[in-house]
Symmetry: C2
Subunit: 211 residues, 2 copies
């Protein structure tokens, strides 16, 4: 690990940023928080698009390199900091974790990007689809979960789950239909690494949104 | 590896199935092909949803376990069959590969699921977004690519790229604006593992779609 402090380009409410914040906290990696106001289009400005070609948050500068795409960042952090692991050792359990990560990050998360949610919500489309995906995740959890998503240890699946549950609630999805998701999310929200990563605890969270 | 032949539940035109077919071919893993006709809703039938809670293709039965979600399957195959690797050894390069995988599988792929494409295409919405994501991938490739997406070796990024380019063309996205994507896709389509995984070479491809 280089001596320079990592910099996380983040937006407080971005679920993808939240994932990386949680992972950094979990692994005890101290970092500088650089807010990118995606509501004002800061991610599309040249100075940002030069470090992140996708013009999304988050971006992580670490060890002299620049990383984009949250799941790729999580896997990188797991590889360079295997202490306090977020992937099990067993290949099958690792696959279960990654399967949940992809279901949440690849299927559910894209549904809640701002444009589609505004657009499709008017016909009730995206909520229905969101709920379908949650049914899949709940079914998977009924087979794999213990205290957390896969067994009794916190994994990357938990890291991506909590922000999505938070957003589901924000978009008025009735999560009481998904008791396993709900129970695990509640337990996760009590853990320090997750608490510290909560949007409300970020420097760019407006005062009126802090409870 | 158990002596039982792996079974891949697949749909010939599914880009997620195509990814896994390519990886199995690349690693020389012989498998049985079990067609799931997603146009007729076979993925929603109970016998299938019991093995795949998300009711998507692909599903892979291998070594006595059942795996869902294509990227998780690719990572699993990489772990159990590290010969003919599809991830570089260097953590930064691995992150570059996974960043492209997530950009393509997590951002671009969800745009082309059947419901959204039919629905949003009428207002030109999804094509615009698709093109925006392609711009990001092209910019990333300008930094990372050699002969293939990341350097000169075939990686998981290439495995996910080719099916998406095929679908982009199918949905009339003008890919000539993305010369790097196009050039790499052309080179990939000449490789045996990719050729064999092409929809046209699957047993469930209708005769009229075969050239």
């Amino acid at each position: 690990m280089s001596s320079e402090k990592p910099i996380l380009y983040s937006y407080y409410r971005s679920s993808c940023s939240w994932r990386v914040r949680t992972c950094l906290n979990w692994k005890g990696i101290d970092y500088e928080y650089c807010p990118v106001n995606v509501m004002e289009g800061a991610q599309n400005k040249e100075e940002y698009s030069e470090i992140n070609p996708y013009e999304f948050v988050p971006t992580l500068k670490i060890n002299g390199i620049v990383l984009s795409q949250s799941v790729a960042i999580l896997e990188y952090l797991e590889e360079i900091r295997p202490e306090k692991p977020l992937l099990p050792k067993d290949p099958y359990k690792r696959a279960l974790v990654r399967s949940l990560v992809q279901a949440i990050a690849g299927d559910i998360q894209p549904l809640q990007n701002l444009r589609p949610i505004n657009f499709i919500e008017s016909i009730g489309g995206d909520k229905k689809e969101w709920i379908n995906y949650c049914i899949g995740v709940e079914k998977q959890l009924s087979k794999s979960s213990g205290k957390y998503c896969v067994g009794d240890e916190v994994t990357l699946a938990d890291v991506v789950l909590l922000p999505q549950v938070y957003n589901a609630t924000r978009f008025n999805i009735d999560m009481t239909k998904f008791p396993l998701i709900q129970r695990i999310a509640n337990d996760l929200s009590e853990l320090d690494a997750f608490k510290k990563a909560n949007p409300q605890n970020q420097i760019d969270c407006p005062a009126e949104e802090k409870k």
